[in-house]
Amino acid sequence: MRTLNVAQGVAWRTLHNVVTNPSLLLPSLIFPLFFFTAFAGGLSRISNVPGFDYPNGYTAFQFVFVLLQSAVFGGVFTGFGIARDFESGFARRLLLAAPNRTGIVLGYAVAATGRWLITASFLTAVAFAVGMRVGGSGVDLFGLYTLALLMNGAAVLWSAGVAMRLRTMQAGPIMQLPVFLVLFFAPVYVPLALLQGWIHGVATVNPVTRVLESARGFLAGQPTEVGLAYGTGLALVLFFSVWAVRGLRSAERAG
């Protein structure tokens, strides 16, 4: 119960900060939209490449990537907030005040989810407004958004672990760069089968590829590799939960 109280307090404060501060809210809304525009608008001719077989068109194909990207970066940006809290000294006071400190990690994770839900609603509304074609049913779409939520959770737990170990805003690139690389070493612009050379090899073993391909399958109404994608998502969440909690312990030891 005390864990939930702490989580609720941390989540409310973090979300309140994001929603009432345009410099935090606007980039998380505008950047995914910008990537969606740049990829779906600028590169739509790629759907004419022989072998491109996604049935719902290039807009839907790119929407799924940008949705997952926004989920992951929603988690990373929340990690920036944790680092900022440590730099400003707020997190130290929080550690002193919280009767159960695991609730702090949980609170940040809940805030990241809330933050991403705002972005996802906005992005989805824009995608429908520009005529994105959806082949999946309600259940399929639920599957798509749940997968994105898992990625959001994994990303915030990864970032929280880094932020709590390093406790400085200068840790930003360490949180961001690996995530950026893992995302872009997946089949971003074309299906996996059309990738050639070294990137095909990297994408094949990249766990994000399973999630991305499965999410695209949900949107098209042709679910594929569902078990593998959910297994990957859950494994990432579990692994980074341990990472984040150990980060919390590291922050506790640092005082």
Binding site: P27, F31, F34, F35, T37, A38, G41, G42, L43, S44, R45, I46, N48, V49, P50, G51, F52, P173, L181, F184, F185, P187, V188, Y189, V190, L194, L195, Q196, G197, W198, I199, H200, V202
Partner: protein, 257 residues
């Protein structure tokens, strides 16, 4: 004249040394554009199978992008360094000396040009290693270096102008997303004639960054294309002249004794 040259030399050396001492300022402009080139050239290789695509090497096609991205980083670095000089009071102390304001600008931008040339060298070296051969030959490579210096000068002056007007490193950093939008809404990933969506093609055509990219690209994949080079150099030179004029004016205002 000799005193002026001394001032420019000392401030230019300070700019270069300060950049070298901050690894993030050197590594970022070198590594990040190369990473994006690697990712995009792998992911978008299939694009070369589109009818009308001008080359069968996406690396050669996309190599122009790091040159412009590097210039964006130069803008941010120059602006942030200059803003720090303002915030720490270094500029105020300089204004108590006989130093001429324009020497500060020349010195700062001299450092940016050096960094731009290093970046161009690294980008070209990586491209050569992976098998790209510029169609314009050795002469084209020389032109590429000149172009990189000119673009670095123009964008660096823009960063200096932003820093001198706002006096804030954060304000300069906030310009980065704006420049990034210009980069993405351009012909960076696909030739303009192959862009399917009309509004995007129109936006890319109206975007001056498209012509900067296409000037570099022409030397690599086409050879000598007078129109592309004239447009690219014209836009780069205009940007440099306008940005230098604005930065000089802002410097006069900032250093009013």
């Amino acid at each position: 004249m000799s005193a002026f040259a001394d001032q420019v030399y000392l401030l230019g050396r300070r700019s270069v040394v300060r950049t070298i001492r901050q690894p993030a300022n050197v590594v970022g402009p070198l590594i990040f554009p190369m990473l994006l080139l690697a990712v995009n050239s792998g992911g978008l290789k299939a694009e070369t199978r589109l009818p009308g695509f001008p080359t069968n090497s996406f690396v050669a096609f996309a190599l122009a992008v790091p040159f412009i991205q590097g210039a964006l980083f130069a803008t941010m670095n120059t602006g942030t360094d200059l803003a720090r000089d303002i915030q720490t009071g270094f500029l105020n102390r300089l204004s108590l000396t006989p130093m001429r304001g324009i020497a500060l600008l020349c010195g700062q931008l001299g450092g940016v040009i050096v960094l731009s040339l290093v970046q161009a060298f690294v980008y070209l070296a990586v491209a050569l290693i992976v098998g790209v051969r510029p169609e314009a030959g050795a002469g084209g490579v020389a032109i590429l270096f000149g172009f990189a210096a000119l673009v670095g000068l123009g964008f660096g002056a823009l960063g200096a102008f932003a820093a001198l007007r706002t006096g804030s490193g954060e304000a300069v950093q906030s310009l980065f997303p704006v420049f990034f939008v210009f980069l993405f809404i351009s012909s960076m990933n696909i030739p303009r004639n192959l862009i399917e969506v009309t509004w995007f093609r129109d936006a890319a055509t109206a975007n001056p960054v498209s012509y900067l990219i296409e000037a570099v690209r022409s030397l690599i994949i086409t050879g000598w294309d007078g129109e592309a080079l004239a447009l690219g150099f014209g836009i780069a030179a205009t940007t440099a002249v306008v940005a230098l004029a604005l930065a000089s004016w802002a410097l006069r205002v900032r250093m009013a004794r």
